[in-house]
């Protein structure tokens, strides 16, 4: 099958994809105080990957991003559950969250919440789920 020369799509994609990823990371980190969070962030990152997939094809993407997204799902679920289990170490009930303010080198006074770790689990799960579904259906030759 011959492909049409979609140079415009590819060029814009290489630009837009990074903006999308940046935006998704922003959504993810700002989720605690502004609209956003792991779920939307994950969906947005997945959108960026799908866009690249559409522009470059899944074979090229498999080289650039050699990730098995089914492991990402498992990883995300593991992180989410482990943050919950972690509260046992401090003698707290399952899924107790806490937060504190830290003085970090570049960012200055920053709030670090354990909820963010939990959100990371959500984020990874959502990416994994979305990519697994889309790639499974897209690569299906049955």
């Amino acid at each position: 099958m011959t492909r049409t020369n979609d140079i415009i799509l590819r060029t814009t994609t290489s630009l837009i994809a990074f903006i999308l990823i940046g935006f998704s990371v922003y959504l993810f980190f700002s989720g605690h105080n502004n609209p956003g969070g792991g779920f939307i962030g994950g969906l947005m990152t997945a959108a960026a990957i799908i866009l690249m997939n559409m522009a470059y094809g899944s074979e090229a993407m498999a080289k650039v991003l050699p990730v098995n997204f089914r492991f990402v799902v498992a990883l995300g679920l593991a992180i989410a559950v482990l943050t919950g289990v972690g509260s046992f170490v401090f003698g707290q009930p399952f899924l107790s969250q806490t937060y504190a303010y830290f003085q970090l080198p570049i960012l200055g006074k920053t709030e670090l919440a354990t909820a963010l770790l939990f959100d990371l689990g959500v984020y990874l799960t959502v990416i994994g789920v979305t990519m697994t579904i889309i790639l499974t259906i897209a690569d299906d030759r049955g």
Binding site: G31, H32, M44, G84, E111, A115, F118, T132, I137
Partner: protein, 778 residues
């Protein structure tokens, strides 16, 4: 006492081990010892100075269920019958069953049955009684179907199971009623509160349930049909279960409860009525049979009917006669079954049309048979016990308490005639059984085997029983005073002279007996001439065809009903489900009057909201009426994006963002799915279906709207969201309350939701990637 009941059960556990060396030692030898031990244990209770014994063993005290044993004269009679005939049958089966049979199974079932029968007659607690009662049904099912490779055996086993379990469940209902009314689970305790039960409004139901239980178990008309089919069981089983023990469980039940129930005239009408019908019908049908065991089966039915009728009379004389006949019937019927088994064993057939003239080949068997069958017929000879109890039966049927009114009086006046008619046929089939088998011409060519006398071991058991017939016949007082009279006293303590003697002088009962003898002889001799009557009654209208029809119809109707609503159409199931929701919810709303509308607490509408809502409505309608699938999906997208805008308007940014993306993905996936869909034929539905769908849809929409309005209008208490708003920052460290709720306050929901997502992803992966193609399978 508990040990004696548990002994057969415990022994049954070890039978499979013992039966491993059945080739060397027949398993039955060990089994015979168990009923013998029980028999010896219980025989020591016999004596003139016998007093009832009660024992209690804790089982489930909190639920009023304790193993309560009450040993009185009636129980003792049955216990000795069960263990005594059990010993003989076990001994007989050693010679009857070859070691190539599944002996282990047989004896396990046999011992289970014996133990549960002992339990039935000893129990005083109704629940324990019921437990053992069902155990007898179960073990008899296993025994009847012992040769389960035969179709007739399976049919007979299933039939007896269905009928006796039906009765057993009725019995349970009656027992529960009585326990609830009296507050005690003890039978003796219930009998003490007789007035309470007799005058209770539930009494008709109690009586019906108890009688159903007893009638099905004791094969009374019209539930007798299982007994002839149960003859497919091995002959020792028929001799034990279907002549001496299980079929008498119903009689036992009636006898046990009759001190309580005789106060009701319905008890008399039903028990005596059905008993006498069973007597006549069973004896009438017995003459028709051609199979030896079938003759005996109908004979058992009719004899049980006779005992049942006597229990229904309720007079002192009748109770005494009934108890006496229970013992007599067990002796002669058990031996007759064993005789039939010997004939079957030695000639290879049980068909009376092929048998005849066996007297010269089987002299001992013939001697046993003649005594037992003449005793069954009630021939007036001083050494036959059957005559005594038949005489007492006639005596009881003409002596009732005077002054009865209405139906009871009519019944009392016709009973003696029916008793005589039933006895005439009893005489006829007894003669038919004996002369048809042992006299007349012998036709050796038709017999599968050349007959010769049975081994001695096989003859021992029937000989012992026939010896019992003669001993009771010669010396009735020997067992009367220490034994039978106690049993009668425990049912009804009367002050009549309970003596049995052969010669009463020329009185009405003797005349009736002589009439039976005369008419019976005439009918027996002229039997071939009037055999044709059986082609008229019962022809097709027999109860068996009714039973078969019922079973068949139950199956066809239930199949038809199931096929009627489960036609595999998902659309129909959805219609049924939603329709049910509409009807149930609307009815509840109407009954409780819970629909409310309140205008308080409503916010003002704005123009953008109205605009978006209208757009969504138009798009929703468009989705329904469009014929193009792709268009429908895209228009559906409008609804989704409209919702996202509504979220924006209602200040839910997280929801709006998520809704936008999810809507996009959903529409994309929909398009993907429909793009690959095969071009199916467009299905046009009928107008009726369409309008039905429309009605259901509108109804459900209206229902949901009403629920929404009601829910909004009746807020019972304030929402807890203030708490979240206040504590979001201080507790969760975030200002995005939605996110704090999702990850912190109610994080568990989120964990499970992402798990759902993960499962969905893996499911899709599995569905698409791991499928097996048809051609790969081959």
């Amino acid at each position: 006492m508990l040990t004696s009941v548990l002994l057969p059960f415990i022994a049954a556990l070890f039978i499979p081990l013992i039966s491993k060396w059945k080739e060397k030692v027949h398993t039955g030898i060990f089994v015979t010892l168990i009923p013998l031990a029980v028999f010896i244990y219980f025989i020591q209770f016999i004596g003139a100075g016998f007093e009832p014994v009660t024992r209690e063993y804790s089982w489930i005290p909190s639920m009023n269920m304790n193993i309560l044993f009450h040993l009185d004269g009636l129980s003792l009679l049955f216990l000795l019958l069960i263990s005594g005939i059990g010993t003989l049958v076990a001994f007989y089966s050693i010679y009857y069953l070859h070691t190539s049979e599944q002996l282990g199974q047989f004896y396990v079932f046999f011992l289970l049955f014996m133990g549960s029968m002992l339990g039935v007659v000893l129990s005083d607690n109704v629940y324990v009684l019921y437990t053992f009662w069902e155990f007898t049904s179960l073990s008899s099912f296993l025994l009847i179907g012992f040769w389960n490779h035969r179709e007739r055996s399976r049919y007979g086993a299933l039939k007896s199971m269905l009928i006796t379990v039906f009765g057993g469940l009725s019995l349970l209902g009656g027992l529960i009623f009585m326990q609830v009314i009296t507050g005690t689970a003890s039978i003796q305790g219930m009998i003490e509160q007789q007035e309470l039960i007799l005058n209770h409004e539930y009494f008709p139901m109690i009586l019906t349930f108890l009688l159903l239980g007893a009638f099905t178990k004791s094969a009374q008309f019209p539930f007798h049909i299982w007994l002839p089919d149960a003859m497919e069981a091995p002959t020792p089983v028929s001799a034990y279960l279907h002549s001496a023990t299980m079929v008498k469980a119903g009689l036992f039940l009636i006898a046990r409860f009759s001190p309580m129930l005789t106060g009701s005239e319905w008890f008399f009408l039903f028990v005596s009525g059905f008993g006498i019908i069973t007597l006549c019908w069973g004896s009438y049908m017995a003459v028709r049979q051609t199979d030896l065991k079938a003759i005996l089966a109908f004979s058992t039915i009719s004899q049980l009917g006779m005992i049942m009728a006597m229990l229904g009379f309720g007079t002192d004389m009748a109770i005494f006669a009934a108890v006496f006949h229970i013992l007599n019937h067990a002796t002669f019927k058990g031996s007759l079954f064993m005789v039939a088994g010997i004939v079957d064993h030695e000639t290879g057939t049980r068909d009376i049309r092929n048998l005849g003239g066996l007297m010269t080949f089987l002299p001992i068997t013939a001697t046993l048979a003649v005594i037992a069958s003449f005793s069954m017929a009630g021939v007036p000879l001083p050494f036959l016990n059957g005559f005594y109890s038949k005489e007492l039966f006639f005596d009881a049927s003409i002596h009732f308490n005077e002054g009865a009114q209405g139906a009871v009086a009519i019944m009392q006046s016709i009973l003696p005639y029916l008793a005589v008619i039933g006895s005439i046929f009893t005489f006829v089939y007894s003669m038919y059984f004996f002369f048809g088998t042992f006299r007349g011409e012998s036709n050796m060519d038709k017999l599968p085997k050349k007959p010769h006398e049975a081994p001695i071991g096989m003859l021992v058991a029937p000989a012992v029983l026939v010896l019992g017939v003669i001993v009771i016949g010669l010396f009735p007082e020997l067992i009367n005073q220490p034994f039978i009279s106690h049993a009668a006293d425990s049912i009804k303590a009367g002050d009549i002279d309970k003596s049995i003697s052969f010669w009463h002088g020329i009185k009405l009962p003797l005349i009736m007996s002589l009439a039976v003898l005369a008419f019976g002889t005439i009918l027996a001799l002229s039997r071939p001439k009037w055999q044709g009557v059986y082609r008229i009654l019962p022809g097709k209208l027999s109860l068996n065809s009714f039973y078969d029809g019922t079973v068949k119809r139950t199956e066809t109707y239930s199949t038809a009903i199931t096929n009627g609503y489960m036609n595999g159409s998902l659309a129909r199931y959805v219609r049924l489900i939603i329709g049910a929701i509409i009807i149930v919810t609307f009815s509840i709303m109407a009954i409780t009057g819970s629909f409310t509308i309140s205008n308080e607490d409503l916010s003002a509408l704005t123009a953008p909201e109205i605009f978006i809502a209208l757009t969504m409505v138009i798009a929703a309608v468009g989705t329904i009426i469009t014929n193009n699938r792709i268009a429908a999906i895209l228009i559906l997208g409008v609804v989704g994006y409209g919702l996202a805008i509504l979220f924006v308007l209602y200040r839910a940014p997280d929801l709006a963002l998520t809704q936008l993306i999810i809507e996009t993905v959903t529409v994309a996936l929909f398009l993907l799915a429909f793009y690959h869909m095969p071009q199916l034929e467009k299905k046009t539905e009928t107008k009726r279906k369409k309008s039905l769908n429309l009605t259901i849809a509108i109804g459900f929409g209206a229902l949901m709207s009403m629920i929404g309005i009601s829910a909004h209008s009746s807020k019972a208490f304030d929402s807890i969201s203030d708490y979240f708003l206040k504590t979001s920052h201080s507790l969760g460290g975030g200002d995005n309350v939605v996110n704090v709720i999702l990850v912190d306050m109610r994080g568990l929901d989120t964990v499970l939701e992402i798990t759902v997502l993960g499962i969905a992803a893996f499911a899709i992966y599995g569905l698409v990637r791991l499928r097996r193609h048809k051609d790969e399978e081959g």
